[in-house]
């Protein structure tokens, strides 16, 4: 077994991009004109809009080794010094000539430089996560640029395109279309989160994608009041070889009483005419100190795969899940959270998962929170028990800290180990209204690493600090 020999992460000062520098030149990024007198307010209400921006910069230093290597080989460790930069900016309620508070802009991106030699990582990488402008005109609105559609038939999809919508007397209608963002067009197909396998390793090398073949479109019609809401949605996503996914979604929510809400959702996979996912739930607060939730779900995961996957037509076996949650605020400083679900997998034995946690929270000026949780998971072939204790404390007006410990105990051995443990902690310091530093460290023992020690320092700079509400 190869092991991660050590890991050290550090941080550099924020390196904001040009956009944020431009924003920083403004005296206040949540601009509100000087308050008018009540008399003036009647004549013309002051414009209220907000612009906020944030930068996060990380410099890491660590050693790592892939586990396991090719055919179980122990591979040499490599030293890495990646530099990450995250940028966020958005503006809301900006006036347009045709309507007040009718323009919104959002931007989010990350970038990474990998200056050391690596067989798996490129020297530079990054992604534009969001870059869109939203315009309103009367009951209609439109959003242009890189954006996302979430929930319903789409589940979660990002695309470059346009979304339009309109509302009238509780009814709403939305439509969208554009080119899909995943797979990433600045990376090899198949690249997602955990790393990009070298092309030379692959037997089947996928063809370079033509972006015009990857597009999506969909829409939704619904009705929404304060007590009833629901929508029917449609989503069609295409890839080079045809339909990737084509879904019909139904989502309904009802609040018959103040503290009771019911909901249902279903995702119909149109190609096979079967429900990929369907759930029904109820949330209830019989007392102001008690929250109850119950849920039943049916899922056929194979139908959530791309329709271009042969595997998606090999199986439609699914599983049913039934369970609920209970939260009891026993005392003003003590709360119990429990949840439990049982799963019935077709063709195998049942599974189950549940957690029981106690949470203690005290202090208003220097809040302290302690949470101890026990988790049990029973899944086909293996399961585990886990104990987790978490502690956070505000030590001074500017200094806060957390401590955590996890212990996992597996039903069956994983790589020869029956347990693993993680010890972690953080300390954050608010150096100024706009600038916060956070240092974290963790030590873990697991089947994949005899010792995994990490430390990280993070700096966050809020360009809109003057508009942040005062935290006492």
């Amino acid at each position: 077994m190869a092991r991660i020999s050590g890991c050290l992460r550090a941080i550099a000062p924020p390196a904001p991009a040009l956009l944020l520098l431009l924003l920083a030149t403004r005296p206040s990024l949540a601009d509100e004109p000087p308050k008018a007198s009540p008399k003036d307010q009647k004549a013309e209400a002051p414009d209220r809009f907000s612009v906020s921006a944030r930068s996060e910069t990380y410099v890491q230093l660590y050693q790592r080794a892939l586990v396991p290597g090719q055919n179980g080989q122990v591979v040499p460790t490599e030293t890495a010094v990646p530099v990450h930069e995250y940028l966020f900016a958005n503006a809301r309620d900006v006036d347009a000539p045709w309507q007040k508070d009718s323009i919104g802009i959002e931007f989010a991106a990350w970038g990474r430089a990998w200056p050391t030699q690596s067989s798996l990582e490129r020297p530079f990488d990054g992604d534009l996560q969001t870059a869109n402008v939203r315009l309103e005109a009367g009951p209609a609105w439109a959003r242009l640029g890189r954006q996302q559609v979430a929930g319903g038939a789409a589940r979660y999809a990002r695309f470059d395109g346009v979304m339009v919508g309109a509302r009238h007397r509780g009814f709403f209608l939305e439509g969208y279309g554009g080119y899909t963002v995943l797979p990433r067009w600045n990376g090899r197909p198949g690249y997602h989160h955990l790393g990009d396998a070298e092309d030379t390793l692959l037997v089947y090398l996928p063809p370079q994608p033509q972006r015009g073949d990857y597009w999506l479109a969909g829409g939704r019609v619904g009705y929404q009041t304060s007590h009833v809401s629901g929508s029917i949605s449609f989503h069609d996503e295409q890839v080079t070889t045809g339909v990737d996914r084509r879904n019909l979604g139904l989502d309904v929510g009802v609040q018959p009483f103040e503290m009771t809400s019911l909901g249902a959702s279903a995702l119909l996979e149109l190609d096979s005419g079967r429900f990929a996912n369907a759930r029904l739930w109820a949330d209830l607060s019989p007392h102001r100190l008690i929250d109850l939730g119950a849920e039943v779900m049916h899922s056929e995961p194979a139908l959530l795969l791309s329709r271009q996957s042969v595997l998606s037509v090999f199986s439609t076996d699914g599983y049913e899940e039934l369970g609920g949650t209970l939260t009891a605020k026993v005392l003003s400083w003590l709360r119990f959270d429990t949840n439990g679900y049982i799963e019935a997998y077709r063709g195998t034995g049942p599974g189950a998962r549940g957690e029981a946690a106690a949470r203690v929270a005290m202090g208003e000026v220097y809040p302290m929170t302690l949470r101890v949780a026990y988790t049990r998971v029973i899944a086909p072939q293996n399961g585990y028990q886990a104990v987790r204790a978490s502690f956070s404390r505000k030590l001074s007006p500017r200094l806060s800290s957390t401590l955590e410990v996890y212990g996992y105990f597996y039903d069956m051995q994983i790589a020869g180990y029956k347990s693993s443990s993680v010890f972690a902690g953080t300390a954050s310091y608010q150096a100024a209204d706009a600038l916060e530093f956070l240092w974290s460290a963790s030590v873990a023992q697991s089947p994949y690493a005899a010792v995994d020690a990490q430390t990280m320092l993070r700096a966050t700079y809020h360009f809109d600090a003057p508009s942040r509400p005062r935290q006492r």
């Binding site: 209220r48 907000s50 990646p82 995250y86 959002e106 989010a108 992604d127 869109n132 954006q147 979430a150 979660y156 990002r158 939305e174 197909p189 790393g195 396998a197 070298e198 390793l201 692959l202 009041t225 629901g230 929508s231 045809g242 929510g253 103040e258 909901g263 190609d271 739930w281 929250d291 939730g293 849920e295 995961p301 998606s312 037509v313 090999f314 949650t325 949840n339 997998y345 077709r346 998962r353 202090g363 208003e364 000026v365 302290m368 302690l370 949470r371 101890v372 899944a379 086909p380 399961g383 987790r388 204790a389 978490s390 404390r393 996890y406 212990g407 953080t426 956070l438 509400p469 935290q471």
Partner: protein
């Protein structure tokens, strides 16, 4: 094992001790409103005039911070400036941020008759909050028009909304995370949710292209319910079998395969390691280890390594005319004919 358990118990004991030590710390006490309003000798010759709410609070101010009395007001009676400063610093945390409210207009309402206490019950009852919950506001105001449009402003300040967690109305309780996709779908996209949340916040969890996971970037959020905390790398196979549909909320099977390929346990690499038990491929279809049985139950796990689009190695045995038999389950149907491009790999 025993040593780890001992370490765990020791850590819990230490935190409990810390908790006990902290128990006596509750910060400066709540301001004794009742004493000031009803417990002072006042209004008689030789005594100062009786206090009312507006004696100290300037309700005409929009900024709630400015509505609080200045130290000079307190120092008319209290001479310990340090104590005054400490008490004024103990104002309660406002979970909903700044609220835009016209106090004069509310006090003029016949239901309130100029009284502050109906909303701010905590000033006379220490067991109740000083600031009214949102359900109190909704007790009189329906705000149905704003609700239908998904507008939280102007009552809530837009900047404050982004850092506010609802505690009563629309509260994000323990089950909310499981339903949040559907809650978004029921309502107008970009309206209600986006009063507080930006799309980049969704992507903070859902965008799997990021190098740094949300757990790595936000290690201080110990109660956030992030799914990959702890040694998730070790547990991921168990979690995937327990809740396979949940993984597919964010991940595609290519995400599994790109990592498995790099580690040599994917069918898509040359000379791969074979993790399967004896009897995996063979004629004994009754065996619990037979690949068909496992594939029926958990095809998504198969896809973690064997997903290479239509060129997957399953086709070699299972295409029409080959010896692997029909892999389609009972009841299978497709809107596409066998001449569709993907179907032709088997139905050639």
């Amino acid at each position: 094992m025993q040593a780890r358990l001992s370490a765990l118990l020791l850590w819990i004991a230490v935190t409990l001790a810390a908790m006990a030590a902290c128990r006596s710390e509750s910060g400066p006490p709540r301001f004794p409103h009742q004493t000031h309003l009803a417990g002072l000798a006042c209004g008689v010759p030789g005594k100062p005039a009786c206090l009312t709410c507006v004696s100290c609070h300037d309700l005409a101010q929009h900024d709630s911070g400015q509505r609080l009395p200045k130290a000079a007001v307190c120092e008319n009676c209290h001479r310990d400036a340090h104590q005054v400063k400490a008490v004024l610093a103990s104002t309660p945390v406002r979970p909903s941020g700044e609220i835009t409210i016209d106090h004069d207009k509310h006090l003029a309402m016949p239901e309130l008759r100029g009284q502050c206490v109906p909303c701010h019950a905590g000033v006379v009852d220490s067991k109740r909050p000083s600031l009214p919950p949102m359900s109190k506001c909704f007790g009189c105001h329906e705000h149905s028009e704003q609700w239908a449009k998904g507008e939280c402003t102007p009552c809530h300040d837009a900047a404050a909304l982004r850092r506010t967690m609802p505690v009563t109305f629309l509260k994000h309780d323990t089950a909310f995370l499981r339903h949040h996709g559907s809650v978004m779908a029921e309502r107008q996209q970009a309206q209600l949710c986006q009063n507080c949340h930006t799309q980049s916040q969704c992507q903070s969890c859902h965008d799997v292209t990021q190098d740094l996971t949300v757990e790595a970037r936000r290690p201080e959020r110990i109660e956030s319910g992030q799914v990959h905390r702890g040694d998730f790398m070790v547990r991921h196979a168990i979690e995937a079998r327990s809740e396979p549909a949940r993984c597919l909320s964010c991940h595609t099977v290519q995400g599994c395969d790109s990592c498995h390929s790099a580690r040599g346990v994917s069918a898509n690499v040359a000379n791969p390691s074979n993790p399967h038990p004896p009897g995996w491929v063979g004629g004994n279809t009754a065996s619990a280890d037979f690949h068909g049985t496992v594939a029926r139950r958990d095809i998504v796990s198969c896809a973690g390594c064997h997903e290479a689009g239509p060129a997957t190695n399953c086709i070699r045995c299972h295409k029409v005319g080959a010896y692997g038999g029909n892999p389609h389950p009972r009841g299978w149907k497709s809107s596409r004919g066998v001449d569709a491009e993907m179907c032709r790999y088997c139905h050639e």
